[in-house]
C-alpha cells in the first residue's frame, strides 16, 4: 500500500486520461493512414522506389553503426587506460555534448568542417589533392551519424571497462600480461558483452534519423524512409506514397525493436566506485593512446568550434531586429515549455499507476492500465513522429488550415518523443523514493498535495528538472514534426534555421544555429556534467 484512497482515485483518473489521450492521438493518425492505404494501388514503379529507399535506410544505418562502434573501441580503451591523461575529464565531458545538440545544428557544424569550403577540403587542396570530399550524400550522413554516436558508444564502453574489478589490473600487471593478452583476456570479453546492446541502440537511432538525412542527403540516391515520407507529402503531394512509406517505417521499427529486445537493453552508464582504478598497461602506450584521443577530440570538437566561430561572426544586430526570429523564438519556447509540461504530466501516471496496480486490492481497470501504460510510454519508438505527423496532416488537411492546428499537434508529438526519456529518468527515482517514504508518509497522514510538496518534490527535484530540461531541449531542436506541418504562419527556431540554410543565407543560419545550440546545451549540460565524482587514489583501501 503506497497511496491513500484519494490519491488512488486521482491516479486512476490520470492514468485513464494519459492512456486514452495517447491512444486516441496515435490511433487517429494510424486510422487516417489506413483509410488512405485502402485507396492506393501501388504499381511496380512505386515498388522499385520504395525498395531503394528501404535499402538505403538500412545500409546507411548499418554503416553508421559499424563505424561508430568500431571506432569507439580504441577511444574507450585509451580513455580507460590513460587515467592520468591531461584533459581526460574534459574529453569525457566533450563526449556528452553531441547528445544535447539539435541534429540540425550538428549537421551545420559538420558542413562547416567537411563541406566544400570546410577545413578538411582546404587541407586536401593544400596537399595537392583535387578530388574534394563531398559532404552531401552517404559520406556526409555517415560523418554526422558518427559524430553523434561515436561519443555515445565510447561512453558506454568506457563505463563497461571501468566496471572491471580494479584488482584485475593489479593482477595482470603482476602476472606480466602484455597489451594483446590484456585485450584478448580482459577487455574484449567485457566489450563483447555490451556491444550488441550498444550497436542495437545506435542502429535504431540511425535508422530513424530524419534531420541529418534531410540536410545532408535527400537526393533520390540518399533518402531514408522518414525523409521520403516528408518529400512525398510536401513536395510531390503524393499521400498514397507517404502512407505506404509510413507503414513500411512502422514495419521496420517494429522489426528493429523486436531485434533489440533479443539483444537486451543497452548497458547502464552508472559508475562503480570502491577501490580507485589504476592501470599499469598504459605507460608504454601513452603516445598511441594520445594520438587516438587527439583525433577523437578533433573530430568531436571541430564541428562544435566551427558552429561557435561562424555563429559569432553573424550579424547579431540585424538578427536581433529580425521579427521572424522573434516569432520563431517565441513559438519554439512556448511549444517546448508546453510539451515538457505535457510530457511530465503523461509520464507521472505511466510511472505511478503500475506501482498502484501492484498492490493486492487494485481493481481490474487499474491492473489493465498498469500493464498498458508502460507500453504507451514508448509507443513513439514504434510509431515514429513523422508517421504520426503524416496521419494528422492528412486528417487536418480535410478541415482546411493545417497551420492553425500545427502548434497543438507538434506540442503533443514533442511530448511523446520525450516520453521514453522522461520515464527512464523518473521511474527509478520514484521507485526508490516510494520504497523509502511511502509507508511513513501514509502513516503520518501526509497525502495528496502536501505529500508532493513536502516529501516528493524535495527528494525528486533533480530528476524532475533533468527530465524537464531534456524534454524541452528535445522539443527545441526538433525538426521532424515541424517539417511535415511547416506552414507560413507556423515557424519554429529549427524550421527558420532550415529555411535560411535552404535559401543560402549562411551567415543568418550560423547565427541562429549558435542561438539554438546554446539554448539546448544550457538545458542539457548541467545535469550531465554534475554526475561524475572525481577520482583520486587513496592510501590503503
Amino acid at each position: 500500500m503506497l497511496f491513500a484512497r484519494a490519491e488512488r482515485r486521482m491516479l486512476d483518473i490520470a492514468g485513464g486520461l494519459a492512456l486514452g489521450g495517447v491512444v486516441v492521438f496515435v490511433g487517429a493518425a494510424i486510422a487516417v493512414l489506413l483509410g488512405h492505404a485502402g485507396a492506393s494501388g501501388g504499381g511496380p514503379l512505386l515498388d522499385a522506389y520504395i525498395g531503394r529507399v528501404a535499402r538505403f535506410t538500412l545500409v546507411q544505418a548499418a554503416l553508421s553503426t559499424l563505424l561508430s562502434v568500431v571506432l569507439a573501441i580504441p577511444v574507450a580503451r585509451a580513455l580507460a587506460r590513460q587515467r592520468g591523461f591531461p584533459g581526460r575529464v574534459w574529453i569525457i565531458r566533450l563526449s556528452v555534448v553531441p547528445l544535447g545538440l539539435p541534429a540540425l545544428v550538428a549537421a551545420l557544424g559538420v558542413i562547416e568542417i567537411w563541406g566544400r569550403q570546410g577545413v578538411v577540403n582546404d587541407l586536401l587542396r593544400l596537399a595537392g589533392l583535387q578530388n574534394s570530399v563531398s559532404v552531401y550524400g552517404l559520406a556526409g550522413i555517415l560523418i554526422a551519424h558518427v559524430f553523434f554516436n561515436l561519443p555515445l558508444a565510447a561512453r558506454f564502453l568506457l563505463a563497461a571497462l571501468d566496471r572491471i574489478p580494479p584488482e584485475y589490473w593489479l593482477s595482470s600487471a603482476n602476472l606480466g600480461m602484455g597489451g594483446g593478452a590484456v585485450f584478448r583476456l580482459i577487455e574484449w570479453p567485457v566489450i563483447r558483452r555490451v556491444l550488441p546492446g550498444i550497436a542495437g541502440l545506435v542502429f535504431m537511432l540511425c535508422a530513424t534519423s530524419f534531420t541529418i538525412v534531410l540536410t545532408l542527403g535527400g537526393g533520390p540516391a540518399a533518402t531514408t524512409i522518414e525523409v521520403a515520407i516528408y518529400q512525398a507529402l510536401r513536395f510531390d503531394f503524393d499521400p498514397e506514397r507517404a502512407v505506404l512509406l509510413a507503414f513500411l517505417q512502422i514495419a521496420v521499427t517494429a522489426a528493429l525493436l523486436w531485434l533489440l529486445s533479443l539483444f537486451g537493453r543497452p548497458p547502464e552508464e552508472g559508475m562503480t566506485a570502491g577501490r580507485a582504478i589504476r592501470r599499469f598497461d598504459g605507460r608504454r602506450r601513452r603516445l598511441s593512446d594520445g594520438l587516438v584521443l587527439l583525433l577523437f577530440t578533433l573530430f568531436t570538437a571541430a564541428p562544435l568550434a566551427a558552429t561557435l566561430v561562424s555563429g559569432l561572426a553573424a550579424d547579431f544586430g540585424r538578427l536581433a531586429a529580425d521579427p521572424m526570429l522573434h516569432r520563431a523564438l517565441a513559438t519554439s519556447l512556448a511549444i517546448s515549455l508546453a510539451s515538457a509540461v505535457l510530457s511530465i504530466a503523461i509520464a507521472l501516471p505511466v510511472v505511478l499507476v503500475p506501482r498502484l496496480a501492484e498492490s493486492g486490492d487494485a481493481g481490474a481497470a487499474t491492473r489493465l492500465m498498469g500493464g498498458a501504460l508502460p507500453a504507451v510510454g514508448s509507443l513513439i519508438l514504434l510509431v515514429p513522429p513523422v508517421v504520426v505527423a503524416t496521419g494528422w496532416f492528412l486528417m487536418l488537411r480535410v478541415l482546411g488550415e493545417t497551420g492553425r492546428f500545427a502548434p497543438f499537434v507538434v506540442t503533443a508529438l514533442n511530448a511523446l518523443m520525450a516520453l521514453p526519456f522522461v520515464v527512464r529518468v523518473l521511474e527509478p527515482a520514484y521507485r526508490t523514493h516510494l520504497s523509502r517514504t511511502a509507508r511513513l508518509a501514509l502513516s503520518l497522514g501526509v497525502t495528496g498535495w502536501r505529500r508532493f510538496l513536502h516529501i516528493d518534490w524535495p527528494a525528486l527535484k533533480r530528476p524532475f528538472l533533468t527530465a524537464f530540461a531534456f524534454a524541452m531541449a528535445l522539443s527545441l531542436g526538433d525538426l521532424g514534426a515541424v517539417a511535415i506541418f511547416g506552414a507560413e504562419g507556423f515557424v519554429t527556431l529549427p524550421w527558420l534555421l532550415y529555411s535560411r540554410m535552404a535559401s543560402y543565407r549562411t551567415a543568418d543560419a550560423a547565427g541562429i544555429a549558435l542561438i539554438l545550440g546554446v539554448l539546448c546545451l544550457l538545458l542539457t549540460l548541467p545535469s550531465t556534467a554534475a554526475e561524475r565524482p572525481t577520482e583520486r587514489p587513496r592510501p590503503d583501501a
Binding site: Y168, L170, A173, N174, G178, L185, F280
Partner: protein, 239 residues
C-alpha cells in the same frame, strides 16, 4: 649472512597531505603478519613491494637486487587480494595458466602443471569450472594455485581470509602453512584477526599512521599490553 628477502630503506610515499614511511628487513623464508588499524598503510606497503606504487624516495631491495624501475611482473613477487583475484570469464585452469604464460599459450606440460597445482590446493578436477560457480574459499585456493605455478619467492596476501567464514579461514590458514613449509617462500599477509597471526606467522609487522610501529616475533607481539594501538588490536583495551 644472506641477503634478506625484502629490505626497505627510508622508503616514503606521499598521498596528498599524508606521508608514509617504511624501513624494515624481512629474512628469506619467514612468514610475516602485517597488522594495524585501517588507513595505516598496510596495502600501500604491499603496493611498494609489488611495484604498484613508486616510492618518492628510498630504496626497495628484494634478495639483494634494487627494484627501482622494475615492472610488477619482473619482480620476484606474487600477490593475492581479498577478492577478484580470478578473471570471472576464464576457467579455473586458464586463471592458473596465466601464471605460467601471461598470454595463455600452454603446452601439454604447462597444462599438467596447472592440474597438479589444482590438486595440491585440494581442487583436483576443477579445471573447467568458472569462478562464479566456486565458493569464496575455492576461489582463493585457485588464486593460491596460480601463485604456486608462478614460483616467485615472495608471496603477498592482502587480507586473503577476509571474505571467508571461520571454518574456511582455518582451512585456508592450514593450507597456507603447508605450502609455506614446502616452498620455503617468504610470506607476508595482511590481517585484522589475532588468531590468523597465531596460526600462521613467525613475525609481526604492526603499522600505525603510515609507519612501522613494531617489528617483533609473534610470541612477543601476542603478549604485549602496549602501545595502546596494539593492545586495542589484541582486544585488551578498555578493560
Amino acid at each position: 649472512m644472506p641477503d634478506p628477502a625484502i629490505r626497505l630503506e627510508d622508503v616514503s610515499v606521499r598521498f596528498g597531505e599524508k606521508r608514509l614511511a617504511f624501513d624494515c628487513a624481512i629474512p628469506a623464508g619467514s612468514a610475516v603478519a602485517v597488522a594495524g588499524p585501517s588507513g595505516a598503510g598496510k596495502s600501500t606497503l604491499f603496493n611498494v613491494i609489488a611495484g604498484f606504487e613508486k616510492p618518492a624516495s628510498g630504496s626497495v631491495t628484494l634478495f639483494g637486487e634494487d627494484m627501482a624501475g622494475r615492472d610488477p611482473a619482473d619482480r620476484p613477487v606474487s600477490i593475492v587480494f581479498q577478492d577478484n583475484n580470478l578473471f570471472a570469464h576464464l576457467s579455473a585452469a586458464d586463471n592458473i595458466g596465466l601464471g605460467i604464460d601471461p598470454g595463455l599459450r600452454l603446452d601439454a606440460a604447462g597444462r599438467r602443471r596447472v592440474s597438479d597445482a589444482l590438486a595440491r590446493v585440494g581442487l583436483a578436477g576443477y579445471e573447467k569450472r568458472l569462478p562464479g560457480s566456486l565458493s569464496g574459499g575455492e576461489r582463493q585456493r585457485v588464486a593460491l594455485a596460480r601463485a604456486l605455478v608462478r614460483r616467485r619467492p615472495i608471496l603477498l596476501l592482502d587480507e586473503p581470509f577476509a571474505a571467508l567464514d571461520p571454518a574456511m579461514r582455518a582451512d585456508m590458514a592450514g593450507l597456507l602453512a603447508e605450502l609455506h613449509a614446502e616452498t620455503k617462500s617468504t610470506l607476508l599477509f595482511i590481517t585484522h584477526q589475532p588468531e590468523d597471526i597465531g596460526r600462521l606467522a613467525g613475525r609481526v609487522l604492526f603499522l600505525e599512521a603510515g609507519r612501522i610501529l613494531l617489528d617483533a616475533a609473534v610470541e612477543d607481539f601476542l603478549s604485549r599490553l602496549d602501545p595502546p594501538a596494539i593492545a586495542k588490536f589484541l582486544g585488551r583495551s578498555g578493560s
